[in-house]
Amino acid sequence: MSTFNGNGQSIPKIGFYICHCGHNIASMVDVDKVQKYTASLPGVTVSRDYKYMCSDPGQELIQKDIKEFGLNRIVVASCSPLLHEHTFRVATEKAGLNPYFFHMVNIRENVSWVTGDKEAATDKAIDLVRAAIQRVFFHKPLVKKEVPINPDVLILGGGIAGIHAALTIANAGKKVYLVEREPTIGGHMAMFDKTFPTLDCAACILTPKMSAVKNHPNITLWSYSEVEKIEGFVGNYRATIKRKPRYVIEELCVGCMDCIDACIYKEAKYPDEFNLGMSKRKPIYIPFPQATPQVVLFDPDTCIDFKSHRCKKTCIEACDRDAIDLKQTAKYEEINIGSVILATGFKTYDAKFAPQYGYGRFPNVFTSLELERMVNASGPTSGEVLTKEGKKPKSVGIVHCVGSRDEKSNKWCSKVCCMYSLKLAHLIKEHTGAEVYNFYIDMRTPGKGYEEFYDKLMNEGVHFIRGRVAEVTDWALAAEEENKLTIRVEDTLVGVVRRIPVDMVVLSVGLEPREDASDVRRMFNISCSNEGFFLERHPKLAPVSTFTDGIFIAGACQGPKDIPDSVAQAGAAAAEVLSLICAGTIELEPNTASITEEFCSGCKSCIPLCPYSAISFKEDTKKAYINEALCKGCGTCVAACPSGSIIQNLFEDEQIFGEIEGLLRFAGIDLAGSETKGKELEHA
């Protein structure tokens, strides 16, 4: 039996409210029974049920009761505290009661939605409510904790999402650090030729934004850089950025490319990353003509001087600005920021993992990204669509859903493939006049102007065959199949298996999380969804927030997205960041731990446990001390304090013990000395 020793507080007068949540709770939990049961518990002054507790009238109900009955504890049984705890705390506070006298019981996500039997659900709800009632006896008034927000922002990833977010925030007059891993910003979008459905040129709309980033006084662009470390908390983060050596002094280089011409390799010899290996570059290069910043860089793996130190270094001679520094090492920048936007993008599915489509085995099987480069005027074929033999294909098959909608690779629909396949079909037809076949499972074209684009393509005479391709082979059964790639597919609309010989196969590869998404996630202390994309705080109501305050996500790092969606999300993330900055301060959960100095024996057991170094040993008193500003409220030290001298606000031992007892039975609480006899409850 627990004893309620008052702590100088008034005798608890509990107000209990159970929410129907429309039918969400009431259809599975006998709300009336719970309400009546709770009314019978000692300490409970008011017990009510209401259709929607989170609505204004619902909140007013609580406030009215607080004033009328002098309630000093509020328990609401409704949805998850992660959803509405804040709402009810604010309501409680408005009625003049300390908001931390409020406690929430989750009978929707934890009960009504997950239980199939009404009686069982009602019993479970009763148990949870009883636990909460017993818990609030031990609640104490707490003071809210506020911290200032540093207005500087770190944005990770210089694709279209990162660029857009950076410009939006910088235009609002706030300082932005844009960190990009590659030598240039632009991301995947810079690789595209045209964008669907408008078919406007990707470079024409992207390049102005890229140079705006470069020239913006509020943006510090660090390309070829990575975040090494981040610590702190919302409003007060500290990050270390590693700037990888380019072996070229960025501030001096003007991108004249004289050094590239002067390189002792007269011919470009090494696979060019930007063109996915379909063209060659030199050891000193610039990724593509519009690269931002316009700065060359060395590839130490291929440059002779790095390998043998015996190069004539014609590049250095050629540079009249002395911008080349082969001894350059990584540089580390430390910055203080208040919030972060992660816009780290995606990678495409590696078609080698679908060997039935012959990528890597048959030279004329390409990925869609390779084709994007191929149709691009500045690409490896200068915009010509050519087979490996250098001929224009007479027929091309576009295989949808490669690495999407497949349990063996990625379960999800990559969302953009249908549309970009249509775009590629159009461009291929335009460039070559070939017969183009689209093999699709379902055509997904929701979006402004997307369905119209599909209509247009059908009218252009592109073949649409509904069926997922089983294999791409080189064995021939008929004369027309000799020396071609044969696609074997069921035309499901006819119900017949077809063999279609083509000259070129394009695999519409799906979108995946980047390989290091999980490292980034760990560094920034956020979650990933099952498939590995960053997890938003709420799929509908907080799509760009994460479970870590001050860290936001935008673009395809959160899930497959096309350009308009990425830009929209980037704008949303920028707005969230600006709203945080404009508020100036942020309220933190006062769930910090503190040490009662009188009781602490100075055993130092807790000190090494704190991941934030919030606990220190005070030499003058020989006791441990918690710096509340650093404490994030995990409670590990509380659980480990061998003499029970640390308490955690909102999660005090007594409160948890109360909850445990209450879940199992109502143990009875010694109300200000007068003992309430424990009673076994028999609702079961």
């Binding site: 024996s601 055993c603 057991s605 090494p608 659980a639 061998p642 029970g644």
Partner: protein, 324 residues
Amino acid sequence: MPEKPKIAFYWCASCGGCEESVVDLAEDILMVADAVDIVFWPVAMDFKKTDVETMEDGSILATMLNGAIRTSEQEEMARLIRRKSKILIAYGSCAHMGGIPALANEFERSEILKYAYEDAPSVINSQHTYPEAVYQDKSRKITLPVFRNIVRTLDQVVDVDYYLPGCPPTPKLLKQAVLTLLSGKLPPKGTVLAPDSALCEECPRKESKPADLSFEHFTRPHMILSDPEKCLLAQGLICMGPATRAGCEALCINGNMPCSGCFGPTSRVKDQGAKILSSICSNIEAKTEIAIDRVLDEIPDPVGTFYRYGLAASMLRKKIAEEV
């Protein structure tokens, strides 16, 4: 001349050390003897149960009862004494938390009897003879007290007013307790008459404990030559000091032995063993299950280590067995 307050001492399941500790008061015992009348003290003076029974209820000011409760006779005596005393003090670890005798709660009654009467190396008992609970001989009927299946603390049997912890309590604490009783200024009921912080507070080796201690290995006193100056935990010895109430003035540590927890937990802790376990484990270096287990293997008897004195008072109290 007003009557001197009456004091009694009694023992239940205990080793006798607590009785010894009363004598350890040395010359101070004279001061006590001066101030009070000792009306019942079976170890030192010849009293009979009937003597107590004839006393008026509540006529004894205070009884210091040591030892845990295992038999029906002990229960009976505890009740009797409770009735006769205004204040009942659980004296020493056994009465306070079960003490060493309560380690028997790790076994079943049947196992204990079997070991004692059959399996112990010094026993030859081919007839499987066991003590008979009731012996009927023509007209006479002799009974043995019932040997319960669980060892209890004193407060699990009768209402206890105060606790004097320790195995045994130190003379200093006893003297303080007697003086408090005589002063009439009584602390709240249920108080443990010792400081309410952990032993590290008064440990002479406190300074030598590093602030970033993490455990890679555990060892035991007989396995190493321990440094007489350095914190024992820092040497890998399991010292219960951080989870044990102060007041003994680090007697064991001064003897270069780790604290084994006889003073019990502080008032804020319900289960001493659980707390020290939590504290020590949290600071283990290893991160994988295998590596953690390897370190934990170096604590051969966790119950005996963390609940050496506190098993009867612990949350689980007794090993769960089918036979009840």
